[in-house]
Each structure stands twice: as C-alpha cells, then as structure tokens.
Amino acid sequence: DQQVKQNSPSLSVQEGRISILNCDYTNSMFDYFLWYKKYPAEGPTFLISISSIKDKNEDGRFTVFLNKSAKHLSLHIVPSQPGDSAVYFCAARTVTSGTYKYIFGTGTRLKVLA
C-alpha cells in the first residue's frame, strides 16, 4: 500500500527549461511535505518543504505546490541546470506513537540536458 507515489520514474529536460516533478498521496492526515534530492553514492539532502496549511512555497529556483483537494504535490525547478540532475524523492509526514514519521515516494530521476 503505497501512500506516497511518484508515477514518473524518470524525466529529461533541456537546460534552461522548467522541470516539473509530481507526487500523489492518499492519506489526508499528512501534515507536512518535503522534497529531497539524491546524488549517486550520497545520502538524500533536503531541498524544500511545505506545510499542509499552505499551497505554495518558493525558494530560489525551486517552488513546491500543494493541492490538498487533489492530494497532489509538485516541485517546479526553473530554470533547470545540469547540476540539478539527480533522483528526487517526495516525502510526507505523519504522527506515530507521538512522534513524526516520514513516508517516501519511489523517486524520480531527473536528467537535465546541456
């Protein structure tokens, strides 16, 4: 039962264009969403997050949009750069036993072509 889904395993985008990565979730109790970026042979690093009470959060080239009614999250990268090539994971937070727990999606491999 995959509560957080990233239906596109890979995406290729031309340098300078917009990259849009999507994430769908099923649990309406998730209260916080995050995007992580992962390079090969490294651990994931935090990129951007959004609370469930907001619908948009922006940080430089990165913007996360949340559509609660559709249970859909997206990450926009504009303009895309070759250094953005990595695997991107979305994650959703829930509370278990009084502490926070994260559910991760399966990841989308982004390739930005120079």
Binding site: Q6, P9, Y32, L34, Y36, A41, E42, G43, P44, T45, F46, S49, S51, F89, A91, R93, T96, S97, G98, T99, Y100, K101, Y102, I103, F104, G105, T106, G107
Partner: protein, 114 residues
C-alpha cells in the same frame, strides 16, 4: 552543519552472518531513523527511535533489530543476514519540530549479502 556518519560505505557479508551498521550524529537530535533504498521502491522505513533506549518499528522491521544506548548513536542489526537484505541502508536524524523539521541523512552503506 549537521553531520551524520555511517560506519561503512560498502560491506560484503555472507548469508547467516550477524551484521552491525552504525550511525552517529553530532547535532544532539532526538529522532533517528534507519531506511533501506531499493530500485523502484524508494526509501522504506525499517526502525526509528525518538529517544535513548526507545525504538519503534517502521514499515519493514522483519529481520532487523536496533539499539540506541546513547543519544548520538543508532545501530541497525541484521541478526542473520539473508540475500534479500542486499540493499543501500540510509541513516537519518532530526530534531522534532512542527514546522520546518527536516531529516539529515548519512552517506549510506551499500550492503551485499552473498
């Protein structure tokens, strides 16, 4: 900067061996997590801990146990390694905050069980 270190980057073990994976964080974080990452499955939570000597099962705890004797150290134990435990193991830590909580990941341990 938060630093999460894992004892080994690469490990090769034989079926039936007892395997210890160590994780240390230097930011006095309350929460620590063990995940495994597999192609097409994303990051799946094995165990987490929200305090010394406290542990909670994640989504796939079978075949694993954990130990947290000190706040900075969280160990994952494979009691009797099997080939289906060949994977990338990622440790993470976080300080529980309602807003802007993020997890900090170690570089990962790639385990091969023969």
């Amino acid at each position: 900067d938060v630093k999460v270190t894992q004892s080994s980057r690469y490990l090769v073990k034989r079926t039936g061996e007892k395997v210890f994976l160590e994780c240390v964080q230097d930011m006095d974080h309350e929460n620590m997590f063990w995940y495994r990452q597999d192609p097409g499955l994303g990051l799946r939570l094995i165990y987490f801990s929200y305090d010394v000597k406290m542990k909670e099962k994640g989504d796939i705890p079978e075949g694993y146990s954990v130990s947290r004797e000190k706040k900075e150290r969280f160990s994952l134990i494979l009691e009797s390694a099997s080939t289906n435990q060949t994977s990338m193991y990622l440790c993470a830590s976080s300080y529980p905050r309602r807003e802007k909580e993020t997890q900090y990941f170690g570089p990962g341990t790639r385990l091969l069980v023969l």
